[in-house]
Symmetry: C2
DNA sequence: GATACAATCTCTAGCCACTAGAGCTTCAAG
DNA sequence: CTTGAAGCTCTAGTGGCTAGAGATTGTATC
């Protein structure tokens, strides 16, 4: 009785219909059955699975990482260490991105603060972009 | 005498040859001439231009933003305010990304710190991913 | 039961910013 | 003059969707 069409699943999991079909194409999720006419039908388990996927995507995990995590959660007996490894390495990547982004912000801030508000030929924005040596920090 | 082939330009500007050809395709940079055989030839002005592009890319500017910035730097008489606007709005985007990334890191940290190191059925990593409500902060 | 219309179906192509490779031609050193 | 690196064009692939065309199905109303 709880079977639903793709549109409803999309609303529940805050996804787009096309995205669900895309996830099916790449083998992340499948409707448990179809109607005679070919419409996909999903159950509560599919809702959980799709929410899992979307949440992991929000946290920045890539599709292949998610595929692994799904496999793990499908097999509750397996050791937690694989999931831990994936999450840890993902965290590392985030730390790296954060560091880069902070350096970037610093540079951009300096750039706009020093903009002379005159003509382009005195503009620090253009000048800084023209020559890497004007940068205070690495990036 | 300072004319160089695409390979040398690529080395000087720390780019790949294909990337330069791609930039040409989308109209960011053009060789000032070609050899009879069709090989691209670049001069010092092209080096500066490509470095400008690469540097802006490193700072996270999109191609269309760079296209505008290039136009500005090509016309030193124009007002600086357009460049300023582009840089400022870019800075804003960076701030937003930073905020999101910090929330993300927090969540990931909590996730891996609470991982029980047992089996997946008690694993916080999987559990947190399974349900958004386990998250401490928005993302 | 007929009709209207929303929802779904498949298939193709596009986005961004490159990157990689096939198969051919040109250039420069010896 | 030969050789081999470097260049050429063209096509296709990456990730993670998103959008649209044109056909079909499902469902609510009369």
């Amino acid at each position: 009785m709880s079977a639903m069409a793709i549109g409803k699943l999309a609303v529940i999991a805050s996804t787009k219909v096309q995205t669900i079909r895309y996830y099916e194409e790449i083998g992340l999720i499948r409707p448990f059955t179809r109607t005679e006419g070919g419409h996909r039908l999903y159950g509560p388990e599919d809702v959980r699975r799709l929410k899992f996927i979307r949440h992991a995507r929000e946290l920045g995990f890539g599709i292949e990482e998610i595929r692994e995590l799904l496999q793990l959660s499908d097999n509750p007996q397996t050791s937690c260490s694989a999931a831990d490894t994936i999450a840890r390495s993902h965290l590392e990547q985030v730390e790296i991105r954060l560091t880069k982004l902070r350096a970037l912000r610093k540079e951009l801030k300096r750039m706009v603060e020093e903009c002379g508000h005159g003509h382009v030929n005195q503009c620090r924005v253009i000048e800084v972009l023209s020559d890497h040596r004007h940068c205070a920090s690495d990036h």
